[in-house]
């Protein structure tokens, strides 16, 4: 089953003292990403620019509307995404808990609808 890991960070929490060593959380994103790839669970992923450089797009009354910024103003914001393929929820949760900023940030684990992966969609086309 595929899961999207929405990695978020809260800049306020960033001022916490450094994490204690050795509890399974990876030191940095490179190591984490490589571990996922080595485990054969990584489908895709990317780190994102901060929300100030985002643009939000919508179309209202036939007009394209652009907003300078993210879709939701909040201190907490998405910093990266990972699309992983693992057997079940517990496996996905374990990877989410191992994220480098697990102690200060939060990661939403959202299951992907199997019939709506791009692969499945394109196979139907």
């Amino acid at each position: 089953m595929q899961y999207l890991l929405l990695c978020t960070n809260n800049p306020d929490a960033w001022n916490d003292p450094g994490p204690a060593a050795g509890d399974g959380v990876y030191d940095d994103w490179d190591a984490y990403t490589k571990a996922m790839a080595d485990a054969g669970v990584l489908v895709s992923g990317a780190g994102l620019h901060t929300p100030e450089v985002a643009t939000t797009v919508s179309v209202r009354d036939g007009e394209r509307v652009l907003l300078d910024g993210p879709f939701m103003e909040a201190k907490e914001h998405i910093i990266g995404v990972y699309l992983i393929e693992v057997p079940d929820l517990d496996a996905a949760l374990a990877w989410a808990a191992a994220i480098p900023n697990a102690r200060t940030g939060k990661t939403e684990v959202r299951p992907v609808r199997p019939e709506l992966t791009t692969e499945a969609t394109l196979a139907r086309a």
Partner: protein, 404 residues
């Protein structure tokens, strides 16, 4: 319960649901399938006779119906369904004591990814076999609200890909902790009697006991689970002495002759198997309950200093205002009422304590014994305001009357 056949299988149904859920990975579908099988059994068995292995018959019929439903609704690619091929006959179904499946079902219902209330509801529904209405009544909510909660929880388990298999050994420990907490919550709800429904309360205590036994049977080496079972048995043993003519009787005044000797004996035997190494919170609570209960039962004075020390260890292991209130009572007996009041003062500011009757009652009792009658009266008033049922209120009223 509506269906007499369902009543017959209420305890065994957990095993059937577990077997189905593991293979279908869908608790909703598993339950619907079992319901379908029970309906067919109700029609066929009076005519054909009850099969030799009724559980296996139900499992096979349910399984075939579920697969057929899946195919027709094309919910999943066909080859996933074939991964667990349907047994051709009832003989091929492994015996009902599929311990792994049962434990996996309990673990799934108590998954930490679910809200605490949902875990309790799912466990009572699918492991203990209560129906939506019974669970709703127990938790003072409406049947539609409870059904909605259950449906949402099952959907979450299914759509988020929760598996109904056993977790790895590293994951097992925290998952078992979640189950213990659910069972303890069920017992607390039954024991506390929030709201005035004594009949349901006793049933909840018995459900908690049954669940604790199930878990203990499935994980006999687990000391914390043994502790939880001993704790529940100790409290259940004292239940007959706990209420009299609608008044909650304090521990010190209970009629020991009403306590259940067999449950106490069993609790003692279980406890003797724990106590090696660091004690977890349920072993500690069981030890605390045992020390007090057996002292009273054997007509010895309660060793309050020992109790206070055990509470201090528990406070370190799993701190909470509730533990501090209990510790204060013990300290109040072991040292002095003023010493107990100091312990209470330290948690008085905690917002959770404002509606906690035992806090106010403990405070009132200690103030009385410290000779501060006016303050005691005020504290009893606050206790009365916080009371959630008439039995609690009756006891508080009695204490206020004595004070006058």
């Amino acid at each position: 319960m509506n269906d007499p056949l369902e009543t017959l299988f209420r305890r065994d149904r957990a095993a059937i649901v577990a077997t189905l859920a593991r293979r279908l990975r869908d608790l909703d579908l598993a339950e619907d399938a079992l319901q379908e099988a029970l309906t067919r059994a109700a029609a066929r068995w009076p005519v054909d006779g009850v099969p030799d292995r009724p559980g296996a018959w139900l499992t096979v019929v349910a399984w075939r119906w579920a697969l057929d439903r899946r195919r027709r609704h094309a919910l999943l690619p066909l080859d996933e369904a074939l991964e667990y091929p349907a047994p051709a006959s009832a003989d091929e179904v492994p015996p009902l004591t599929v311990e792994d499946d049962k434990l996996a079902l309990i673990l799934a219902c108590c998954h930490p990814a679910l809200q605490a209330e949902s875990r309790i509801a799912l466990t009572l529904r699918h492991v203990a076999g209560l129906d939506d209405g019974e669970i709703a009544a127990a938790f003072l909510t409406s049947r539609p609200a409870m059904t909605k909660r259950l449906v949402r929880a099952r959907r979450k388990l299914r759509d988020s890909g929760a598996s109904f298999t056993l977790p790895t050994s590293e994951e097992l420990a925290p998952r078992l902790a979640s189950v213990r907490d659910v069972i303890a919550s069920v017992f607390t709800e039954g024991h506390l009697a929030s709201g005035d429904k004594p009949a349901i309360r006793a049933e909840l205590c018995q459900e908690a006991l049954w669940l604790a036994r199930q878990l203990h049977d499935l994980t006999p080496q687990d000391a914390e689970t043994t502790g939880l079972l001993a704790l529940i048995l100790t409290h259940i043993a004292r239940l007959p002495g706990r209420e009299d003519h609608g008044r909650l009787i304090p521990f010190a005044e209970q009629d020991i002759g009403l306590w259940d000797h067999d449950s106490l004996t069993e609790a003692r035997a279980l406890l003797s198997r724990t106590g090696r190494g660091a004690l977890g919170p349920y072993q500690l609570q069981a030890a605390i309950a045992a020390v007090q209960t057996f002292a009273a039962f054997e007509r010895r004075p309660v060793p309050w200093l020992h109790v206070a020390r055990l509470y201090a260890i528990l406070a370190e292991r799993s701190p909470s205002p509730v533990v501090e209130v209990n510790r204060a009572v013990a300290v109040g007996r072991a040292e002095s009422p003023l010493a107990g009041l100091l312990v209470l003062d330290a948690v008085a500011a905690d917002p959770r304590i404002a509606t906690y009757v035992p806090f106010h009652a403990a405070r009132a009792d200690l103030l009385e014994r410290a000779g501060q009658r006016d303050a005691a009266r005020a504290a009893w008033t606050r206790a009365r305001d916080a009371c959630v049922n008439s039995a609690q209120r009756a006891e508080v009223d009695r204490r206020v009357a004595l004070l006058a």
